[in-house]
């Protein structure tokens, strides 16, 4: 009996101490406001927690906080991917954060679904839309209204090994400009030893996937201006057959071996000259800089399918959104304006070697003194390539269409279906989906 009495006493003490613990204090929002004092607290969520990116965003936040005394931005790191699940739950509960970084290919969708706030009322007073690359701005629009402000982006370019070019008699200043040339050059660069490839000239699926090639080949996305799906057409059939031919030529074993080396970053065969050319994002340069500083390489826009079809590339990127239901939208807007303005954007660009959305900042970064010459060369190329770069925001009436196309592409490349058949099946599947959703 004594034992249990002692236990109960301990429990009570524990409970009392616990209730004082931060984790057990419940607060409602008005209390939080009162605590912050006079300043309005803006809740800012991002997934930038790495050693490199976190200090950069924290400094930007810090600078903003110091630059005025009405708003205090509080940055919280929430893990990549899960951050958006959490955001959705918070919106549903009516207590969302005030600024969130989101992928730009879903912004219009979120606008349509009332998850992201319509920013027109702010843009009417401060129209900052011309700060950004037009393609990026367009992606944030749903029915002509913007639901997010572009923050950063990327693109895809072709890296090639100049020394290897010279070695096999190719002009290092004349990289391939068409698919045919790409094949030709790769053939020359290939070095076979028995059944193994000591050097692979090029493989189209290292760094990007088939859908980017189809984008490049068509110069447009899977949906035309009316919103009808364009999955099965001659160009796409040709593209997939072309990719399959590379796969058949090198064989699965060689491809897999090279692929795992690429994934291992430092062991990337491009660095050791065992891979002649590779499509990558411009940030790939940071790896070259760190792991193979003496590599003599060049960067060029993606080859076009045939002359005149366009060097179309693909890009992704992120925007800053204000979730629907935020109580501090005005203040959030102030922060977003700062976040996407020249100073903050240039700082981000230089420190992270990242493509930013603000045109002026991007161009300034390319000439920045903080960037060594080689860096500048690559960055400049990336900025120029923005002209070729298309974004692919998901259509609001068929957001998960890729889930129907991707397995068909897989089947085609595995040889289970012909390109013709696979694409036809994909076409009808997507059409069905669009029908279903339009009801």
């Amino acid at each position: 009996m004594v034992k249990s009495k002692k236990l109960i006493l301990l429990l009570l003490i524990a409970l009392l101490t616990l209730s004082g613990c931060a984790g057990f204090k419940t607060k409602n929002t008005s209390e939080v406001e009162a605590e912050a004092g006079e300043k309005v607290v803006v809740d800012f969520w991002s997934f930038w927690g790495s050693e490199i990116r976190r200090p950069v965003i924290e400094k930007i936040v810090d600078d903003f906080n110091k630059s005025q005394d009405k708003i205090e931005v509080k940055h919280t790191f929430v893990p990549w991917g899960d951050i958006w699940t959490k955001e959705l739950a918070a919106i549903a509960a009516g207590n969302p954060p005030d600024v969130v970084i989101n992928e730009n290919n879903g912004t219009a969708l979120r606008g349509m679904k009332n998850q992201a706030m319509n920013l027109s009322k702010f843009l009417e007073k401060d129209d900052i839309s011309d700060r950004f690359y037009p393609e990026l701005w367009e992606a944030t629009l749903y029915e002509e209204d913007s639901y997010g402000i572009p923050f950063n982006t990327d693109t895809r370019v072709l890296f090639y090994n100049k020394d290897a070019f010279e070695e096999v008699g190719l002009d290092p200043e004349k990289p391939p400009t068409t698919w045919a040339e790409l094949e030709e050059y790769a053939e020359k660069l290939d070095q076979k030893n028995g059944n193994n490839y000591e050097r692979m000239g090029f493989y189209p699926l290292f760094g990007i996937e088939s859908d980017v090639w189809m984008l490049n080949a068509n110069g447009s996305n899977f949906f035309d201006e009316d919103g009808s799906p364009v999955v099965h057409n001659d160009v796409n059939v040709e593209t997939l057959n072309w990719i399959k031919s590379w796969k058949d030529k090198y064989g699965d074993n060689a491809v897999n071996a090279f692929k795992s080396q690429i994934d291992s970053q430092q062991g990337n065969p491009f660095f050791s000259g065992q891979l002649g050319m590779i499509v990558q994002t411009p940030t790939f340069y940071t790896q070259i800089r760190d792991y193979a500083p003496d590599l003599n390489f060049g960067v060029v826009e993606l080859p076009e399918r045939e002359e005149g079809s366009g060097h179309t590339s693909w890009g992704g990127g992120f925007v800053a959104e204000i979730p629907e239901g935020s109580n501090h939208a005005e203040e959030a807007w102030e922060f977003i304006k700062y976040l996407t303005d020249v100073e903050a954007q240039e700082y981000w660009a230089v420190k992270n070697f990242d493509n930013v959305a603000n045109i002026e900042a991007a161009e300034k970064a390319a000439k920045s003194e903080e960037m060594p010459e080689k860096d500048q060369m690559v960055y400049q190329m990336a900025v120029e390539n923005m002209e070729n770069t298309l974004l692919t925001p998901v259509p609001t009436y068929a957001p998960d269409f890729m889930g129907l196309i991707k397995p068909e592409i897989d089947s085609i490349l595995l040889g289970k279906k012909s390109a013709e058949q696979g694409l036809q099946d994909a076409q009808s599947a997507v059409e069905k989906l669009v029908e279903k959703n339009k009801k």
Partner: protein
């Protein structure tokens, strides 16, 4: 048969069984040892990755042993985020949840196992049913519920539900309770004992191994819980260990060595506890379990 022959036979019998036993034990040992190697190799992979430099981690072909054993990785991992704070947070939540789980579930399960009452089977079916709903669909409504209670950004949503029972543990303990002979219960009832008394004095002691199992499962569940803390904790100074480990997983690349080191560190307390707690569910292999 005279006694001496009988004894000789007995001796011979036990000798041969002893030998047979020895052989079986050795085979057993060898099998277990080989299996352990298989089981441990991924773990070795984690350990060796945690001790490499990032450069070596990315090396191709991968090395089996780290070239240099970078013990400082562990220190740097710990410093990458406020892990000490996260540990305290996680420990707090865990102790509460485990205590709640063990006590409350053993209470509820006894009711379902040994007390006849109207509607018992239907209610038990209901309990089981709650296990069959995938978590996602209740994720948002539950979040909204907790939000209305102003429990978001506190530990309440993570701790309080544990004090109301969980279907998994109720089911588990009920199975164990049902192996207790009814005669024991009846006898106690004859003497006027309430079920509460029976639960405390008879039920609990007889299913100690199961309770230890629940404690361990529950500990695991909370210690490694990611979704709960992710959803309900907004302030970084309330984050738990699993949440903290996420800093190493970036959008572009993963900080493998630190991630592995962190995962192993987070794992350590669980292993230690398991090792210690083993005696509670392995009550003397050589002794006869008395009460039966």
């Amino acid at each position: 048969m005279n006694p001496s022959t009988k004894n000789k036979h007995k001796a011979a019998y036990f000798d041969s069984t002893k030998n047979r036993k020895k052989v079986l034990v050795s085979i057993n040992f060898v099998l277990l040892a080989m299996g352990s190697l298989l089981i441990l190799s991924p773990v070795w992979w984690m350990i060796s990755t945690s001790l490499k430099t990032m450069t070596e981690v990315m090396q191709y072909p991968p090395t089996f042993f780290p070239a240099e054993w970078k013990w400082e990785n562990y220190i740097r991992t710990w410093e990458a985020a406020p892990f000490t704070l996260y540990t305290i947070n996680t420990v707090t939540i865990t102790i509460l949840v485990v205590a709640g789980s063990v006590i409350v579930n053993s209470f509820i399960a006894y009711g379902f196992a040994k007390i006849p009452f109207k509607g018992k089977n239907i209610l038990f079916a209901l309990v089981l049913s709650t296990m069959m709903i995938p978590g996602f669909v209740t994720l948002i409504p539950q979040y909204v519920l907790f939000s209305k209670l102003h429990w978001v950004n506190t530990y309440y949503p993570l701790v309080v539900p544990a004090f109301f029972g969980s279907a998994f543990f109720i089911f588990l303990l009920r199975q164990f309770y049902m192996t207790i002979p009814n005669e024991l219960i009846e006898a106690a009832k004859m003497e006027g004992a309430s079920h509460f008394y029976i639960w405390r004095k008879i039920g609990i002691p007889l299913i100690k191994p199961a309770l230890a199992t629940v404690a361990i499962f529950s500990f695991n569940g909370v210690w490694n819980d990611f979704l709960g803390p992710l959803l309900y904790l907004n302030d970084e100074n309330l984050y738990t260990l699993q949440l903290g480990l996420q800093v190493f997983k970036g959008q572009m690349s993963t900080q493998w060595n630190y991630l592995m080191a962190g995962s192993l560190l987070v794992l350590l307390p669980v292993i230690v506890l398991f090792f210690i707690f083993q005696k509670y569910f392995i009550q003397g292999i050589n002794l006869q379990s008395g009460n039966k």
